[in-house]
């Protein structure tokens, strides 16, 4: 099973957890319908579409309302500290949560009490907290974008907002930033850096770069990073090795763009999520062909 932890932007939304599903154009969790938009709902919706496509794992979500005041995040941190040991996940992905180093450490201790240590993926606010608390190597994957990579590379910055200018100026020097992030112990064993080219890296440098197909408009669309993390989470939970999972996730996320006829910076993420089955089917069939020599059919399933 894949666990996903995050927030929704509704202050009254109570702390809820359970198997997530899609009902119409909403997420469904514990009797509640949640609009699918950017943030953790986009990640979960992408993961559900991906898992349905590859007949992957169930998705168990932990969600709470938080609009940035941190109350919801702290309630969720507290719940995880108390109850995480009761759960068994193959992969556990942390997403939009108020960065808080102390609460982060308590949750990480709780992970150690789980029956089996899951593959840990940290994105968004929880990745900031993981780096700030000096525990980056305890995770398996970080999924930064270019700006967040600069933050990981700056050993003094507690948040991307404080990344020093001389490091931000190295925007196009991804290999240098990756090296610097590992040098100071501020990167997880694997990085999936989202950008013009997506880079999969470990402490030895870039393992693979994915830059095709390329749709410039996707950079402006809120949620494309969330869908990538959702795809990565499902592929890791399906048992692929980390680098393979990251490459396929990056290719599939890019491929979504080819299924939207009029992709512009104004396109909304819900429209892209709908196309995940087609994009992922094409990419995984191509992968199987290369692995097993089984040629994909001319038209992918789900078209």
């Amino acid at each position: 099973m894949l666990g996903i932890v995050g927030t929704v932007p509704y202050p009254q939304f109570p702390l809820s957890h359970g198997i997530a599903g899609v009902r119409g154009n909403h997420l469904h969790l514990s009797g509640q319908d949640i609009p699918i938009n950017r943030g953790t709902p986009a990640l979960i919706a992408a993961a559900l579409k991906a898992s349905e496509t590859i007949k992957g794992p169930d998705i168990y979500a932990f969600l709470v309302g938080d609009i940035g005041k941190g109350h919801g995040s702290r309630a969720l941190y507290h719940f995880l500290e108390q109850h995480l040991s009761e759960f068994d996940f193959r992969v556990l992905t942390f997403h939009y949560l108020q960065p808080d180093a102390d609460w982060h450490n308590r949750v990480l201790f709780a992970v150690e009490t789980m029956k089996q240590r899951p593959v840990l993926i940290a994105d968004a606010g929880f990745m900031y907290a993981a780096k700030m608390s000096g525990q980056a190597p305890s995770y398996d994957f970080f999924t930064p974008d270019a700006g967040e990579l600069a933050f990981l590379a700056d050993e003094n910055a507690p948040h991307p907002f404080y990344t020093r200018g001389f490091i931000l100026h190295q925007n196009n020097k991804v290999p240098d930033l990756i090296r610097r992030a590992y040098q100071h112990g501020n990167a997880a064993p694997y990085l999936l850096v989202k950008g013009e080219s997506d880079c999969i890296a470990d402490k030895n440098g870039i393992i693979e770069t994915v830059n095709s197909p390329s749709y410039e408009a996707m950079e402006a669309i809120g949620g494309t990073g969330d869908t990538l993390t959702g795809l990565l989470s499902v592929l890791c939970a399906a048992g692929l090795n980390p680098a393979e999972a990251a490459v396929l996730a990056a290719r599939s996320n890019r491929e979504i763009g080819s299924h939207i006829p009029c992709l512009t910076p104004a396109t909304q993420i819900a429209e892209l999520i709908e196309k995940i089955p087609r994009a992922l089917t094409g990419v995984t069939e191509e992968y199987k062909y290369r692995q097993e020599g089984v040629r994909p059919p001319p038209f992918s399933a789900g078209t």
Binding site: Y96, D123, P158, F161, A266, Q268
Partner: protein, 181 residues
């Protein structure tokens, strides 16, 4: 011959300007920092939003740097506005500086501005905010929900609704976009 002496004295003078006469105002949360900055700037005080020193960092923090000599007046102003600081602390070491670099990307019909980890995109003709992306704090999806689909002038300001550093970065990107459009 005396150049050496002048050089030596300059950094000392700078140091006294940047630390000995400066203090920081610490608040309960980032939303209060943003409100306090607005109140103090409107009242004409020269203050700057900065990162806190490591000993009081918790994860998503801002403080306000202010001239120590004006402490009484500034604290009075904030009490009057209903946002008294939790504490005032003299600055003893360099503070973290917020990002001041902006990246602009022109998509033809659309214009995107990035500040730190936050991106905001408008349609140039109507000045409608069409997307907000990036960030990792929980107010980002909330702010996007409030702002996307509205014009720059109709939209609430992230500085008024935001509560986190990502919200503050979005405010900077929003201001830069307003300057450019």
């Amino acid at each position: 011959m005396f150049g050496f002496l002048r050089k030596k004295s300059e950094p000392d003078k700078k140091k006294s300007r940047t630390s000995a006469d400066r203090g920081i105002l610490v608040f309960e949360n980032t939303a209060e920092v943003i409100q306090a900055e607005n109140v103090l700037k409107k009242a004409g005080w020269q203050v700057r939003v900065m990162g806190p020193p490591p000993e009081i960092q918790s994860g998503c923090d801002l403080v306000i740097e202010f001239p120590l000599t004006a402490e009484l007046n500034i604290v009075r102003e904030l009490r009057k506005a209903g946002i008294p600081p939790l504490q005032t602390v003299p600055v003893t070491a360099p503070l973290l500086t917020p990002v001041s670099l902006f990246h602009t990307k022109d998509f033809g019909k659309y214009l995107m501005v990035r500040a730190a980890n936050m991106k905001i995109t408008v349609e140039k003709e109507s000045l409608t905010i069409v997307n907000i992306s990036g960030g990792g704090c929980p107010d980002v999806p909330f702010l996007a929900g409030q702002m996307v689909g509205k014009t720059l002038s109709e939209s609430p300001r992230p500085g008024d609704l935001g509560h986190t550093l990502c919200g503050y970065a979005l405010e900077l990107a929003y201001q830069e976009l307003c300057r450019k459009c």
